[in-house]
């Protein structure tokens, strides 16, 4: 393999990886607060993209994205309040099944609101054919946007969870809900907040990736499976780990194409997920002790 080809595969892998990572981060926020996996995360990504594509007919791109993120956050809050907030100490399994149901409902509603066409936001810089040359290899500028937004999110989130009292309260709820309540933390508000946050992050992800992947009402489950794989691979709850695992999976997938046919690309992701679940269920970067304390 020549250096040039190696770099091309590497950059393709980074493209895939950053898409996976940006979805995986959304999983982690809700997991950090509630201990559950929100399987409607892929739908937040879809909603963000769809709303922005609709709004761009009326307002400039940055405002459309901003409004799409805000609107999706409101939708996230409403969903949590209507379907989850009033449940009396729901079990993890019950909440997970609720999120699966929600993802189906959101998808069907989106089908009726936006129909089945494929849409996309314009490229933030340049157009469909413009590319940036790095080390003699071409890469779409939009990929750099995805990588950039992804890194910003991770840094901002880890600062938020480590250094703000709100962030610490959210983490306390995940660690031990009862103890958190005894300390005077309003656990229900924290759960709502986590849905709002992850809806916002999902929507932002949906906007930056829309020019690359296109946005369609049923894009959610495919993204959610990859994002979930990456979140598990890195170790649930850790955003840095999600990014590292996302890039790792993306790069493995990209290089796999040089040896096996493209048609097996998805099979590789699922195989890795299974192997990780068998041998390191707490993820590559997670600690087994911390995972042992969690319900799920």
């Amino acid at each position: 393999m020549t250096i040039e080809l190696f770099l091309q595969y590497l950059f393709a892998g980074i493209t895939y990886g950053s898409l996976y990572a940006i979805v995986a981060i959304g999983f982690n926020i809700i997991y950090n607060t509630t201990g559950i996996i929100n399987f409607a995360q892929g739908e937040f990504v879809m909603l963000g993209g769809m709303i922005a594509v609709t709004l761009i007919n009326f307002v400039p791109l940055p405002i459309a994205i901003f409004l799409a993120v805000i609107l999706t956050m409101i939708i996230g809050a409403l969903i949590e309040m209507i379907f989850i907030r009033w449940l009396e100490s729901p079990s993890v399994l019950r909440m997970i099944i609720i999120t699966i149901g929600l993802s189906i409902i959101i998808r069907e509603v989106a089908l009726h609101v936006w129909d089945e066409s494929v849409r996309s936001l314009p490229y933030f810089v340049g157009n469909e054919i413009s590319s940036v040359t790095i080390l003699g290899t071409n890469i779409s500028p939009q990929v750099l946007w995805v990588v950039g937004v992804c890194s910003l999110m991770v840094v901002a989130l880890s600062l938020f969870f480590k250094f703000t009292s709100l962030g610490r309260e959210m983490r306390a709820c995940a660690a031990n809900r009862r103890a958190a309540i005894l300390c005077g933390i309003n656990a229900k508000n924290m759960v709502t907040l986590s849905f709002v946050l992850s809806a916002g992050i999902g929507a932002l992800a949906g906007c930056v990736m829309s020019p690359i992947t296109y946005t369609q009402y049923d894009m959610g489950p495919g993204l959610a499976i990859k994002g979930f794989t990456v979140a598990i691979l890195g170790g649930l709850g850790n955003s840095f780990a999600a990014v590292a695992a996302g890039l790792l999976l993306g790069i493995i997938e990209a290089f796999s194409i040089s040896v096996v046919p493209l048609a097996f690309q998805d099979a590789i992701a699922i195989t890795i997920l299974l192997i990780i679940l068998f041998i390191r269920p707490h993820g590559l970067f997670g600690s087994s002790e911390a995972a042992g304390l969690k319900e799920f």
Binding site: T2, L5, Q8, Y9, F11, A12, G13, T15, Y16, L19, L111, D115, E116, S117, V118, R119, S120, N127, E128, I129, S130, S131, N138, I139, S140, M209, I212, T213, Y214, Q216, D218, M219, G222, L223, E253, A254, F255, I257, S258, P261, L262, A263, Q265, D266
Partner: protein
């Protein structure tokens, strides 16, 4: 002795009550009978009125991955049915269109086909939109002796010929030949074939590999992408590494075909890109933007209806359909809607030809002897040819300034 006495004493009121009940019973029975009679007469008269209405089923992928095909097909069928009925129907009989959305899934196509045949007792079925779905119901149609006019492209639908199965899109094998002929003209002999992972893609892949030697063309690389692919830059890197490749054929009906075009151009790889006739929807061009400029693909003449010379045999039908569709739905016409137009019109013309009789054998016979000027080309059916189109139905097209144009 006591028993009858008691009985006697009680008999009076019972009798009275019985009479009351009987009276009520009679009146209510009468009412029911009258109502029933009314309903039956209504039913008879309505069935009498509907007896000749022509029930036509349609299995269309209005949603799902092939929605770019299915949506214009469904709209076209609806529009055309309304037009025909408003103009008095076929010899006075109205068409009753029963439209089913398969979601692009084979299983749904199979169950809808059975439902339409067994429960709705339709005279004929139009669609399905996709090759895989059509192949899945080919035998069902043949066994139940119900006419199917498919809107899917693969040659396998009519080869081997099934007595009751027809199709309107141009054969995919003809599209393959069209592409190879263009390559010969350009002096291209070494190519890569990349197809979407659908029935259409698989069949196309088969014909591309089968017919390539006939034209002295070698397929150097062969890949299949997921219909849900989000980015294909890795496979582009792999193909690009093979410096011998002179052109790429991207054979697909799913939106991901645009992603491949985009990734190729982003990587700065500018070999000629050939697409299939599964690209004939301007919405694909809109999503792909600049990346699709200059791609080559074979398609029917509907896309360039306006620029055809006035004496072209298809000119009138193409322009009429295009204007009707575009003024009604306010969106550009696509070749897929045209396939549905041809399917319904072939059925309608055949029923007209046999004097409006809903006789399957006669209508099949009429189609087999028909020459029909449609949107896809000039159809000449025969008992051996249930597709009716030759390679001249295609024109090599390109994308210029975001619009379809005839390739130079």
């Amino acid at each position: 002795m006591r028993g009858p006495e008691i009985h006697d004493r009680q008999q009076q009121p019972v009798n009275k009550e019985e009479r009351e009940v009987a009276k009520r019973f009679i009146t209510s029975t009468l009412a029911v009978v009258v109502a029933l009679a009314a309903m039956i007469t209504l039913l008879i008269s309505s069935t009498a009125a509907e007896a000749h209405d022509i029930k036509v089923g349609a299995i269309i992928a209005e949603t799902g991955p092939a929605a770019f095909l299915g949506k214009p097909e469904a709209k076209t069928l609806q529009m055309l049915t309304d037009q025909i009925n408003a103009a008095g129907g076929i010899n006075g009989d109205k068409i009753e269109l029963i439209l089913k959305d398969s979601g692009g899934k084979k299983e749904n196509a199979v169950s809808f086909a059975k439902q339409l045949i067994e429960e709705d007792k339709v005279f004929a079925i139009l669609g399905p939109s996709r090759s895989g779905s059509t192949m899945a119901i080919k035998n069902i149609m043949e066994e139940s002796k119900t006419i199917l006019i498919s809107c899917a492209s693969t040659k396998k639908i009519v080869d081997p010929v099934a007595k009751h199965v027809f199709k309107t899109p141009q054969n995919d094998s003809l599209a393959v030949r069209m592409i190879f002929m263009e390559m010969q003209k350009k002096g291209i002999s070494k190519i890569a074939v990349v197809v979407g992972g659908t029935g259409f893609g698989k069949m196309g892949n088969m014909f591309l590999n089968e017919l390539a030697p006939e034209y002295g063309i070698t397929v150097l690389e062969n890949e299949t992408y997921s219909p849900k692919a989000t980015d294909l830059s890795a496979v582009v890197a792999k193909l690009m590494a093979n410096k011998e490749i002179q052109a790429v054929v991207n054979w697909s009906i799913v939106p991901a075909q645009v992603i491949l075009a985009k990734n190729m151009r982003q990587a700065g790889w500018d070999v000629p890109l050939f697409l299939s006739h599964g690209f004939g929807n301007i919405k694909y061009v809109q999503t792909g933007g600049a990346a699709l400029e200059g791609v080559l693909f074979p398609a029917g003449r509907l896309l360039i209806a306006d620029s055809l010379p006035a004496d072209h045999p298809q000119k009138e039908v193409l322009v009429t359909y295009k204007n009707d569709y575009e003024s009604k739905f306010n969106e550009p016409v696509s070749t897929f809607g045209g396939h549905a137009y041809d399917a319904l019109m072939i059925l309608v013309n055949a029923i007209k030809a046999v004097g409006g009789k809903q006789d399957t054998a006669m209508v099949v016979d009429a189609i087999e002897n028909m020459t029909f000027v449609g949107t896809g080309g000039v159809f000449k059916f025969s008992p051996e040819d249930h597709s009716g189109l030759k390679i001249d139905a295609f024109e090599m097209m390109t994308v210029k300034d975001g619009k379809f144009a005839k390739a130079m």
